[in-house]
């Protein structure tokens, strides 16, 4: 029996138990569903038949981003750290690149099962073909079966697996999309997801709103260099309209750890005067509970800064450069006056 939560280390943390009767199973299920596991609410428990294992193997298939294809791996040596095995004894690990257009062929499969005992190869080949179905037809980017086991009767069974599915392909698989709802997520994260914002909660005290993934990542780094930590990653997207800005502010400010917000916008096609109006428009709808350090650069940046200066909003702290803004926001989060 195994708790179904999105966190690893379940075997060691008491999230997996063996039972020998329906009564014990009922008891353990009640116990698991009653308590959290590592802070995660448990809503589901997996119950599996206890199988007599003779041997343990390992297999996986994953997207190889550098090669633009799929990498399949298999070894007879189960229970090993696979990266360590690849380094220390590469001959024990069979690796095959599968071209997406060619698909998984019989010769790929023969190569992959080559280190397994002869009587396990056919069963393992069958598992490989089903794994490739997940990759080729269900948009999985990772299928890892660990352990793949051979039972006392010689049959081969995928005992446990980890599967990752491409978010971009979920439109093709509504039956997979529903699994999202099966796991409770952080309420702030849920709200950001609803609004289609790219939001990642972090553990610092400077709330971040920026446009463009690269610029936002860079903003987190600059805040850290200035001696504080970012509370989140939030990419507001290209437009940075009043609507998007208001929603972003709501999301960022709903994190109680936030002591200052750093709004970092580079106006490209979106002009900074419109972004400045967007920020002010957002502040009419959302109460700013902490200072907002605003840095605008790019197209019409001067006009944007003038609009902010003229509004003289008590919570807005204008900054000329990214570096200066990061330092201001970090200082405020660390207790300096705005």
């Amino acid at each position: 029996m195994k708790v179904q939560v999105q966190v690893g280390g379940r075997g060691k943390g008491g999230g997996v138990v063996l039972v020998d009767s329906p009564e014990r199973a009922a008891m353990e299920a009640a116990r698991m569903l009653d308590s959290d596991f590592k802070g995660h609410e448990v809503r589901q428990v997996l119950v599996e038949e206890l199988l007599p294992i003779a041997r343990e193997f390992y297999t996986s298939m994953l997207l190889d981003r550098s090669e633009g294809d799929f990498l399949a791996m298999m070894t007879a040596e189960g229970g090993m750290d696979i990266e360590e095995l690849a380094r220390s004894r590469p001959e024990a690990l069979r690796r095959v690149h599968v071209d997406a257009m060619l698909g998984l062929r019989a010769f790929h499969v023969r190569e992959l099962v080559g280190t397994l005992p002869a009587d396990a190869r056919e069963g393992a080949a069958d598992v490989l073909r089903r794994m490739y179905e997940l990759v080729g037809e269900r948009d999985a980017t990772l299928v890892e079966v660990n352990p793949l086991v051979q039972l006392d009767d010689g049959s081969v069974v995928a005992l446990d697996s980890k599967i990752a599915v491409d978010d971009n392909a979920l439109f093709r698989h509504p039956d997979i999309e529903v699994f999202r709802d099966a796991f409770p997520i952080d309420p702030v994260q849920a709200r950001a997801n609803e609004q289609g914002l790219q939001y990642v909660k972090l553990d610092g005290s400077v709330g971040i709103i920026g446009n463009g993934a690269g610029l936002v990542m860079s903003t987190l780094d600059l805040v850290a260099q200035a001696g504080a930590k970012a509370a989140n990653f939030l990419d507001v997207g290209g437009g940075a309209s009043a609507d998007q800005m208001a929603t972003s502010l709501e999301v960022v400010l709903s994190d109680p750890a936030v002591e200052a917000v750093f709004i970092n916008i580079f106006g490209g096609i979106t002009r900074c005067d419109l972004v400045a109006e967007g920020v002010l428009g957002a502040l009419e709808r959302v109460e700013a509970t902490v200072p907002l350090v605003v840095r605008l650069d790019g197209t019409n940046a001067e006009a944007g800064r003038e609009i902010l200066a003229a509004a003289a909003h008590p919570r807005i702290v204008p900054a000329a450069t990214m570096l200066e803004a990061a330092e201001r926001a970090a200082a405020i989060a660390n207790g300096a006056a705005a």
Partner: protein, 289 residues
Amino acid sequence: MSILVGAETRLVAQGLTGKEGTFHTLRNRAYGTNVVAGVTPGKAGQDVEGIPVFDTVAEAVRETGANTSMVFVPPRFAGEAILEAADAGIDLVVCITEGIPVKDMAYVHSFLKGRDTTLIGPNCPGVISPGIANVGIIPPEVCLPGRVGFVSRSGTLVYQIVHELTQRGIGQSTCVGMGGDPVHGIGFIEALAMFEDDPETDLMIMTGEIGGDDEERAAAYIAGRVTKPVVAYIAGFEAPPGKRMGHAGAIVTGSQGTAAAKADALVAGGVRVARTPSQVADLVQTALV
């Protein structure tokens, strides 16, 4: 001179009649890019402010001699659109679309092997040769013609850094946004090789981010093959492992793909690595003296 896009570019916009497609294609034309055609299945015979629309890329190539395509098609059809452009013999495909399933891109990757079509993107801002041609969504207002080549995974970081270069009077030969997806077209190495061969590029900038090993492989390439100075910036030192940071490809997996490892590899490859976007402009200025 410039790389990839220039005076010889004859652009066909796939998805021209959509809102974004129309907006950016007309901006590209206003900048001076030679826009010769658009493709939207079912809309052949129409035009968008004088740009003729065709049903297929093959038709657009036959009728107008298009040699470069820009893809604005929605994500579920965009992989197919790239295949169509390559099949029609287009030399350069610039795919702006974000959100394409990675398996579709693995198909594209397979199809392009051994073909002459060059792909940029997807999920990228495009390519601009300032003063000559713009294919994509990079705001030309921040650019200045000059002799610095730029290749980047992020779009806004290009805008930010180019803007700072321009303010100091340092112009650019070509800026390439290679895109933030895990499986993509040309990367740092191919762009750096083109800049190395371009007699009118004196120095290259590359900006990377967490995820994958494009930067590490670029570092090894630079150490062995590049003679012109290279300045780099890497974003994402603060990104926690296992979290996707906006871009589909921006994720640290285990100990793989960290910003620190990338910066270290670049320094070891003889690259000047900036700690902030502004410092990029400082390092470029110093290197050009």
